[in-house]
Symmetry: C2
Subunit: 142 residues, 2 copies
């Protein structure tokens, strides 16, 4: 029972930092975004349709660029699964994104699958990998 409780508490911690990550994105707040991420060269990120961005500095720069080019964004997050294997946790998500470019009035919608890998360190759970990709119709292979 104690193990089950611990496991529930840990999952709740992971889900909380996962929510914070999407809140940082929705509020277009680069400082809050940086708070969510781990440090070091092992940090890696794929934005939908883009190649790997690697290392804390480059990943943060990619988010600042995205945020600077975004006027409005809403991300409806469906947490599909949370897996915890201390000191690593990964969250399997669907993102339904509605967004408008900076200065634009029309919004566009996109369906995205995301893998978020968190590592437990002295500062708590921190993102070390975010892999987001577009869902297209009729795709298969690879």
């Amino acid at each position: 029972v104690e193990d089950e409780l611990t496991s529930k508490v840990v999952r709740a911690q992971v889900e909380q930092v996962n929510r914070r990550f999407y809140e940082a994105f929705e509020t277009l707040d680069p400082d809050a975004m940086e708070e969510c991420w781990g440090h070091g060269d092992g940090v890696a990120c794929v934005h939908p349709g883009s190649p790997w961005v690697r290392g804390h500095e480059a990943v943060m720069a990619s988010w600042r660029t995205i945020m600077a080019n975004t006027g409005f964004i809403e991300v409806q997050v469906e947490v599909v699964d949370v897996l915890v294997e201390d000191p690593v946790a990964w969250v399997v998500c669907n993102e339904r994104i509605t967004a408008a470019g900076a200065g634009a009035s029309e919004t566009a919608a996109a369906e995205v699958t995301a893998t978020n890998v968190y590592l437990l360190g002295s500062a708590g759970w921190r993102l070390v990998l975010h892999h987001a990709s577009p869902v297209m119709r009729g795709a298969l292979g690879g």
Copy 2:
């Protein structure tokens, strides 16, 4: 020094199972593919442009479908990074795929980013998550 050696041995194990995974794909061998994967409901897979497939059975079925519809496939794998945090390891890859459909003579090429998450169990390192996504030009956001 002993820790460094252990770490090198573990990385080599993870890279080996990662190679086996791509060999299973290239040889279109569903049994070899199944050998690479962990069991249970937590197993999850995104094929390029597709939504999440979840659970061992559904993931294996998705690979069987892909393999049945593929006449030829070559995957040039660039291992970008291997991260190990026992009992979890994740491999950050680029895949350059050349493939032809079953019965087709023309091949198509694709550039794909992949996250492969492995979990160490009694049978060794097994894939628990594969997230592959197409690299498109001029993409950003999410």
